[in-house]
């Protein structure tokens, strides 16, 4: 074992840690913004509204993230119209492709999580809101969405961890995230085991922090579900 190799390259790993956190949090935030309107459309009883969203989530939940990233990063360059468009400087970059791919992927998963939570809204709550004279928009804003977010919290916590695990795909397409940094150290020094083990430790650290954050969030938002302490 050559742990000094890992210690010598701590800056590379730290940079990777930062990149991973950046990509995961940015795509989670953007994905959530995308998922809120989509989940409302998805739970609509109008088929013309819900069907396109269903197709979107069906595609992104039914195919591997790696393939989606390949499709965007290596695939789009196949079309001359894309290469000549003003978007090419963005779509040429691995970093943007990863961010777009991650956002669409987590957006699809979160859409379905939120849809389940929206549809689980007790009907009495909606009836009560209507009886109080709230408009549809007000009902969503005041009654349905706050309850749905609360119900979605445990599943969302899992999705955050899955997104973190999925983000290693960025390292596959040359981005220097934690996995990418470990790969680079390995290429420089030929120490698979030590560099990957260091990466594993860093990922575990992040997962530990995420679970802590969600435990606290759940104890706050699910306070009404806690067993009563005398």
């Amino acid at each position: 074992m050559h742990w000094d190799v890992v210690l010598d390259n701590w800056q590379l790993l730290l940079q990777g840690l930062w990149t991973t956190i950046l990509y995961v949090s940015a795509s989670l935030a953007l994905g959530l913004i995308l998922a809120i309107p989509l989940s409302i459309l998805r739970s609509s009883s109008n088929r013309f509204l819900s069907w396109p969203v269903w197709a979107f989530t069906y595609f992104f939940r039914g195919t591997p993230l790696l393939v989606q990233i390949y499709l965007i990063y290596y695939g789009l360059g196949q079309f001359e119209s894309v290469r000549e468009s003003f978007l090419w400087p963005v779509l040429r970059e691995a970093s943007w492709c990863a961010l777009i791919g991650f956002t669409l992927n987590t957006g699809a998963y979160v859409t379905e999580i939120l849809r389940g939570a929206i549809q689980a809204t007790p009907y009495g709550e909606i009836e009560a809101a209507t009886a109080c004279g709230m408009s549809r928009a007000q009902t969503y804003h005041r009654i349905i969405m706050p309850g749905a977010f609360r119900r979605a919290l445990p599943a969302y916590g899992n999705e955050v961890i899955f997104m973190l695990h999925g983000s290693v795909v960025a390292g596959v397409i040359t981005i220097l995230d934690i996995y990418g940094a470990a790969k680079k150290i390995n290429a420089l020094t030929y120490t698979y085991f030590e560099s990957m083990l260091a990466a594993a430790v860093l990922y575990m650290l992040i997962v530990y922090l995420i679970t802590r954050v969600f435990k606290r969030a759940e104890s706050r938002w699910h306070a009404h579900l806690r067993p009563r302490t005398e």
Binding site: G62, P64, L66, Y70, G77, Q78, Y179, Y208
Partner: protein, 230 residues
């Protein structure tokens, strides 16, 4: 499109077959480890509890690809140093397929552990007591009473795990297993039509996931015979 994809259809089909093989063999490994893990978590032995707890925590903390790389390269080094320590003069090479199957099985074994643990707990205790009172041995209890009933409780979560596992197998292409993604990627590179081939991959994955969900729905229906629904 057909004139581009046409010549590569045998290659793609061969890759699809490898993907299915990797998935099914890893699923078998995962189920075996999952049953073992569930048994360890529910046993009264403190050691078994700790080992199983460490196993599930470790796996949920580390991304698939990182763990795969560690098992692929680390396992190779580990086995050979073990062989050397035993004084044998042979070199064992772990091929990418085996490494992929072992690592995916190992990872999803942890998820299956939780699935089976929950399912075993969901079987009413009185039934096990009744079986014991009838004088059944433990394997008989598992075969006649526990197994068929826990199947019903395990199926929804088992199905989810299977769908995630199926998509995870795309990652073994990074290790060099010549499965669907790997073959389509090389076809895409040589024809410079990456988008087309990645789209083909997506369609094949969607077909596989759709077949799986249909089969799972049928199985859930079958194992819920005798359950009254409101």
């Amino acid at each position: 499109m057909l004139e581009i994809v046409g010549p590569y259809i045998p290659l793609i089909l061969k890759g699809t077959w490898v993907t299915i093989a990797v998935s099914l063999v890893s699923l078998a490994v995962a189920c075996l480890l999952g049953l073992l893990g569930a048994w360890a978590k529910l046993s009264h032995s403190k050691l078994a509890n700790t080992v199983a707890g460490a196993y599930t925590t470790l796996v949920r903390g580390v991304p698939d690809l990182v763990l795969m790389t560690i098992i692929f390269f680390g396992g190779q080094i580990g086995i050979n140093s073990l062989v050397e320590a035993m004084g044998w003069d042979i070199y064992i090479e772990i091929d990418a397929f085996t490494a992929g199957v072992v690592s995916i099985g190992f990872i999803y074994g942890a998820y299956m552990t939780e699935t089976f643990r929950g399912a075993i707990l969901a079987v009413p205790k009185g039934q096990i007591e009744a079986a014991v009172a009838c004088g059944m041995t433990r394997p008989t209890i598992f075969r006649r009473v526990l197994g068929p009933q826990m199947m019903r409780f395990a199926l929804p979560s088992f199905g989810n795990n299977w769908l995630v596992l199926l998509k995870t197998t795309a990652l073994v292409s990074v290790l060099g297993v010549q499965e669907l993604v790997y073959n389509a990627f090389s076809a895409g590179r040589s024809t410079r039509e990456m988008f087309t081939f990645m789209l083909v991959v997506c369609v094949i994955y969607l077909i596989l996931t759709t077949i799986s969900t249909t089969a799972l729905r049928w199985a859930e229906h079958r194992y819920s015979v005798g359950v009254r629904r409101a």
